[in-house]
C-alpha cells in the first residue's frame, strides 16, 4: 500500500514536471504553467459564476448517472435472466456501444432542444450501454455451482436471486457502473461543449472563444480532479463488493 502511494506521488510529480517543461517549450499562449493554473483554479473557485456552472454540470451529470445506472442495470438484469432475449440483444448492444455517440448529437438536440435535458440525454446514451452489457454478463456468468448449491439448499427462486445471484453478480455490475459513470460524465460534458448555456463544458468553450489559456487549463484540471474522485470512490465500492468486506 505504501509503495503504491509512493508510485502515485511520483506519477503526480512527473506529470507536473512534464507540464512545466511543456509550458517552457510552447509558451504561455498555448499552455499555462502548473502554478499559474492552480492559482487561477483557486481564483475561479472563489467566484459565484464558477459554482453556477459547476452546479449545472453536477445536476445534469447526477441525473444522467442515476438514469443510466437504473435503466442500464434494469435492462442488463432482464437480458441476463432471459437467455433468448440476451442472445438477441448481445450483438445489438455491442454495436450500439461502439457507435460514436457524437453522430447522434444533432438528433438529440432536435428532440430535446438546448438546455439540461439534451445534456442529460447525451450523458445517458453514453453510460447506459456499458452498464447494461456488464450487468447482463455479470448475471450470465454467475458460476453454475452457485445455482446448484441454491437448489440443494432448497431456496425459492426469489431467495436464490436475492441472496446468491445478486451478491455474486455485484462486483461485475459495479465495474460496469464505474465504466458507465465515467462515460456519462464524458457525454454530459460533450453535450455542454456543443450546445448549452451553462455548465463547465460551456465555460470551457467560452474560455476557448476568448483564448483565455489559463482559464481553459484551470477548468480542465478541476474537471479532471472531479472525474478522478468519482472514479476513485466507485473503485472503493468495487473493491468492497469483490472481496466482501
Amino acid at each position: 500500500m505504501t509503495s503504491r502511494r509512493l508510485d502515485q506521488i511520483l506519477l503526480a510529480a512527473g506529470v507536473l514536471v512534464l507540464w512545466q517543461l511543456l509550458h517552457w517549450a510552447v509558451g504561455p499562449d498555448v499552455v499555462s504553467s502548473p502554478w499559474a493554473t492552480v492559482a487561477r483554479a483557486i481564483e475561479l473557485m472563489r467566484t459565484v459564476a464558477f459554482w453556477g456552472h459547476a452546479a449545472a454540470t453536477a445536476s445534469a451529470f447526477g441525473l444522467a448517472s442515476v438514469i443510466a445506472i437504473a435503466a442500464g442495470i434494469g435492462l442488463g438484469l432482464w437480458l441476463g435472466l432471459h437467455r433468448f432475449a440476451g442472445d438477441v440483444a448481445d450483438p445489438i448492444l455491442g454495436t450500439v456501444y461502439s457507435i460514436p455517440k457524437i453522430t447522434l448529437y444533432p438528433l438529440i438536440l432536435l428532440v430535446f432542444g438546448l438546455g439540461i435535458s439534451a445534456k442529460i440525454a447525451f450523458g445517458v446514451i453514453h453510460g447506459i450501454f456499458p452498464i447494461a452489457i456488464f450487468t447482463m454478463n455479470a448475471v450470465r456468468n454467475v458460476a453454475p455451482v452457485y445455482r446448484r448449491t441454491a437448489r440443494v439448499m432448497r431456496l425459492s427462486s426469489v431467495a436464490t436471486a436475492a441472496t446468491i445471484l445478486a451478491p455474486a453478480a455485484l462486483p461485475e455490475i459495479v465495474t460496469g457502473v464505474r465504466v458507465g459513470v465515467a462515460l456519462t460524465l464524458l457525454g454530459t460534458l460533450i453535450g455542454e461543449l456543443f450546445a448549452a448555456t451553462s455548465g463547465l463544458g460551456f465555460a470551457l468553450i467560452r474560455a476557448m472563444d476568448v483564448h483565455a489559456v489559463t482559464d481553459i487549463l484551470a477548468i480542465t484540471m478541476l474537471i479532471f480532479i472531479f472525474a478522478a474522485s468519482v472514479n476513485a470512490a466507485l473503485g472503493l465500492v468495487e473493491r468492497r463488493a469483490r472481496h466482501g468486506g
Binding site: 458460476a143 452457485y146 446448484r148 440443494v152 441472496t163 451478491p167 472481496h243 466482501g244 468486506g245
Partner: protein, 289 residues
C-alpha cells in the same frame, strides 16, 4: 473433545440396512436440439445404497457419473424409472436431508467463513442463538474456528472446500453427496481431505455418496465401490471393500488396498478401451481378477 451436535449422529448407524436411496430402472436421456440426436447419458440402473454406507462411484470420464449424482439428489429428474429417498419417491426438487458438495468452489466470496457456514440455517429461519451454537460446532469440527472472520479469497482451495463442507454439514444432512470434491486440489491435500472425509462420515453417521475418477481414493475411502460403464452409464461391478469403520489413509499400505485398486482398474480399463473402440490383443489381455 467432540462438538455436541455430532455425538448423537452415530446412533443412526444402528438403523437397518434398508435402501436409504433406491434407484429402479432409472434412465436419463438429454433431448437433442439443433439436429443433434438425443444423448442417452444414463441407465437403466438399479441401485440400493444402505443407510450409513460410504458408497463411491467410479467410471470413465463422460460416463454419466455426475448425471447419476444429479438424478439421485433430485437436481435433475430421471427420464424413466423411480428414485426413492427413505422410501419416498422424489417429487421434483431436492428432498430435505440431502447435502451436496461439488468440485467447483461454491464458497460465497461476499460472505466471511462464519456467514458462509451460517447461510443455510439463516435461510431456514433457525433462531440466532441456535445458529451461533451450530456454526461454532461446525467451524470447530472442520478446523475453521481460527478463520471464522476470513473471506474465501484469503483461503486456499482446500480451506474453501472445507467451508463448503461445513456449510453443508451444519444442516445435518442424512446423505452427503460429493461430486469430485477434491478434484481441484493437490495430491497431498487430497489425501488429508480423504482422512477428513472418513472422520466426517464416521462421526456424523451420514450416508456418503462420492463421485470420483481417482481409483485409489475410491479403494481407500469406500465400503462399496460401483464401477460405471461408458455412456450410457450402467454399473458393471459393485465391489465391497470390507474395510473396518475406523480406517484412515494408512490403509494404502495394506496388501488388499493394492488388490482392490488393481481390480477396479482392470474393470475400468477394459471398459474405457471398449468405449474408445480399441480392444486388447487376445494374448495381452489381463486375465480375470
Amino acid at each position: 473433545m467432540r462438538p455436541s451436535v455430532w455425538s448423537n449422529a452415530g446412533r443412526a448407524m444402528a438403523a437397518s440396512l434398508d435402501g436409504q436411496i433406491s434407484l429402479r430402472g432409472v434412465t436419463k436421456v438429454f433431448p437433442g436440439h439443433d439436429g443433434h440426436p438425443d444423448v442417452h447419458a444414463l441407465g437403466p440402473v438399479d441401485l440400493d445404497i444402505a443407510r450409513g454406507v460410504f458408497f463411491t462411484v467410479v467410471g470413465p470420464s463422460g460416463c454419466g457419473k455426475s448425471t447419476l449424482l444429479d438424478v439421485l439428489a433430485g437436481l435433475s429428474p430421471a427420464t424413466s424409472g423411480t428414485v426413492t429417498f427413505e422410501g419416498r419417491p422424489l417429487a421434483g426438487g431436492v428432498p430435505d436431508g440431502i447435502g451436496a458438495v461439488f468440485q467447483q468452489d461454491a464458497s460465497f466470496f461476499w460472505l466471511n467463513v462464519r456467514d458462509n457456514v451460517a447461510f443455510g440455517l439463516r435461510r431456514r429461519g433457525v433462531g440466532g442463538r441456535e445458529i451461533d451454537r451450530r456454526v461454532d460446532d461446525a467451524l470447530a469440527f472442520m478446523g475453521l474456528a481460527d478463520f471464522a472472520k476470513a473471506f474465501p479469497a484469503q483461503l486456499s482451495g482446500g480451506m474453501r472446500q472445507r467451508v463448503c463442507i461445513a456449510r453443508t454439514l451444519v444442516l445435518e444432512p442424512k446423505v452427503l453427496l460429493l461430486d469430485e470434491p477434491f478434484g481441484a486440489l493437490d495430491q497431498q491435500t487430497r489425501l488429508l481431505m480423504g482422512d477428513e472425509l472418513l472422520r466426517i462420515w464416521r462421526e456424523t453417521g451420514a450416508t456418503v455418496v462420492l463421485i470420483t475418477h481417482a481409483l485409489d481414493e475410491a479403494a481407500m475411502l469406500s465400503d462399496q465401490v460401483a464401477v460405471m460403464s461408458a455412456r450410457p452409464g450402467r454399473f458393471i461391478d459393485i465391489v465391497a471393500t470390507g474395510w473396518p469403520r475406523s480406517r484412515d489413509s494408512r490403509i494404502v499400505s495394506d496388501a488388499r488396498f493394492g488388490a482392490i485398486t488393481a481390480h477396479l482398474w482392470d474393470k475400468l480399463r477394459e471398459e474405457s478401451l471398449r468405449a474408445m473402440g480399441v480392444g486388447d490383443p487376445p494374448d495381452n489381455r489381463v486375465t480375470g481378477a
